[in-house]
């Protein structure tokens, strides 16, 4: 417990120096963070000063119905850059995958962190959780249901960061028919700020950027309507895509191995969801800036948007409806033709009946009757 408090009370600057990060490397990270968050370059020294003095915040990372892809993304793709150290210098007090402790000891670490940092710790969640109306037995940790653990952990938390599309919007577990009644973190949290860092998995720089912002300013970044940080989710993939000129020229890859695909033309026709997807992939890229899905020739799946699993086929163009439109057209057309035919037949029948009933009368006959 004492050792834990010591770790928390050390400043970020002290921890970085301990880890052998140079002043130059640290300032470069601050400048990159400033530009990534769309802050003016003059903010870099301010970020550096704030981070130098920042106390390591305690972070409790809860993993619910997830695939560990978010953690994989975060831990692998940045090593051994300074962002990795930012993660080391937050006090990551509970994380299934990364912590050494297991069993009861692991749960005690969570309880200790909650007690020692009551009201100040950050909760990071990856994965969705079975909602209040579903069977809590679908997902439990140490015999505690996800919902119970989340509610218990939220009590002393300062804010919640939902990492990954499952935590942010329900993701794959929430996809139709949603057998576990999965819900997103924001469906449960009521009186705490929630930041959604969506993506399947999310871009690692985005999660470190959000934490850096929190350490620098002591408050959460500006968020979009889905509670995603605007600095990273403010623009669509389409608007920042390097293949955009081909879209504008009307040059499209028709298949994955045609001439257009080889020339790097737009992937719209192959199902790219870039126009409706807001994320930072096109600018920050993946694997330390190596590439990103569209650069490697694959259409964007729209993984950072709600309901992306149910938003139509991944390889169907965005403009294609999500229904069996051909069947509807045929069925309705045939019904219409039958209805129209029946109406015409009825009209003809009525006309014929009237003709049959017609009793021609000559003027002479009428005069005789009179």
């Amino acid at each position: 417990m004492a050792a834990h408090k010591t770790a928390v009370s050390r400043t970020l600057g002290e921890s970085l120096r301990e880890h052998g990060v140079s002043r130059r490397g640290f300032l470069k990270f601050c400048a990159a963070t400033a530009s990534m968050m769309a802050l003016p370059p003059t903010m870099a020294p301010a970020i550096a000063a704030a981070l130098e003095k920042a106390r390591r915040p305690s972070v409790i990372w809860l993993s619910f119905q997830e695939c560990t892809g978010c953690t994989e993304s975060l831990t692998r793709s940045h090593a051994p850059t300074v962002e990795d150290l930012i993660l080391e210098v937050i006090s990551l007090d509970y994380h299934h995958t990364l912590q050494a402790a297991s069993g009861d000891a692991a749960e005690r670490a969570r309880e200790q962190a909650m007690e020692a940092n009551h009201g100040d710790y950050l909760v990071v969640v990856d994965g969705s959780l079975p909602g209040p109306d579903s069977n809590p037995g679908y997902s439990t940790i140490a015999g505690i249901s996800n919902l119970e653990m989340l509610k218990e952990t939220l009590e002393g938390a300062k804010a919640v960061v939902a990492v990954g599309t499952c935590a942010a919007f329900g993701g794959l577990p929430h996809a139709s028919p949603n057998p576990t009644g999965a819900v997103a973190v924001q469906d449960i949290v009521e009186d705490l700020p929630v930041i959604n860092v969506s993506g399947c998995p999310p871009v690692p720089m985005v999660i470190t950027g959000v934490l850096a912002h929190y350490l620098t300013f002591g408050e959460l970044p500006e968020l979009d309507q889905y509670n995603r940080p605007l600095a990273f989710f403010g623009q669509s993939i389409h608007d920042r895509c390097y293949r955009r000129p081909f879209y504008d020229k009307g040059l499209f890859a028709e298949t994955f191995d045609d001439e257009g695909a080889k020339k790097g033309w737009c992937l719209y026709r192959l199902g790219c969801k870039g126009p409706s997807t807001y994320n930072a992939c096109a600018t920050t890229k993946w694997n330390a800036g190596t590439s990103w899905p569209i650069e490697s020739g694959h259409p964007c799946l729209g993984c950072s948007e709600p309901d992306f699993w149910d938003a139509g086929g991944f390889y169907r163009a965005l403009s294609i409806p999500n229904t069996n439109a051909t069947g509807t057209l045929l069925a309705a057309g045939v019904t219409g033709a039958i209805v129209g035919g029946a109406a015409a037949a009825l009209a003809k029948k009525q006309q014929k009946a009237e003709e049959d009933e017609r009793q021609p009368v000559k003027i002479e006959e009428l005069e005789q009757k009179l």
Partner: protein
Amino acid sequence: MSDPMEFLLWAKGPMFDWALAIFALGMLARIAEILMLGRKPNLAEPRGGEWGPGLRTIITRSVADPGTFQRAAFNVTVGWIWHLGFLVVLLLFIPHIELINSVLGLRWPGLPNPVVDAVSAVTIAALIASLVHRLTHPVKKRISTVEDYLVWTVTFLPLLTGYLAYHRMINPYPLALGLHILMVEIFLIVFPFTKLTHVFTTFIARWYNGATFGRKGVES
């Protein structure tokens, strides 16, 4: 429905099905009725064929005769501009071709987006001009009915929302695209019950006219 993505999926999903069903059912019912009712049998001896003059009239009536053009140059010119523009935007924009291909299994080459963009701007301007003309022309404004303004509105809104969506002037994009699709769906739903049916019936009517003339041996 407050969620833009949910709105887009609804517009692309069940709402699209409903709109398409109402459109197809209504239009097929009307066309089947028109064709089956036909015309009263003409017992007189024909003086010429029906098919040739019928088909020729479908084309010749599309071009205004000099007298009509002199009397209503604005109607003819602006009418032509926006009708052609509407067809170009509808049929030659790549995302529209993808949609048509998914429903009908037919596809054709499209135009570069900037060309379609320019054409849609001209079409929108022409449609606005036609509305202003309708509202200010002493005769047109008196003979215009509620249906005329309804038809103008449901034709204009898909163009406008499509233009706004393409230029990403409504955010977020799922909302912009959803609105555009919804406007098209309203157009499809209104279609069979208004004079929009002329898209199909114009050609049937012209054929009947030409065929009647041909049968009588009159120039069509």
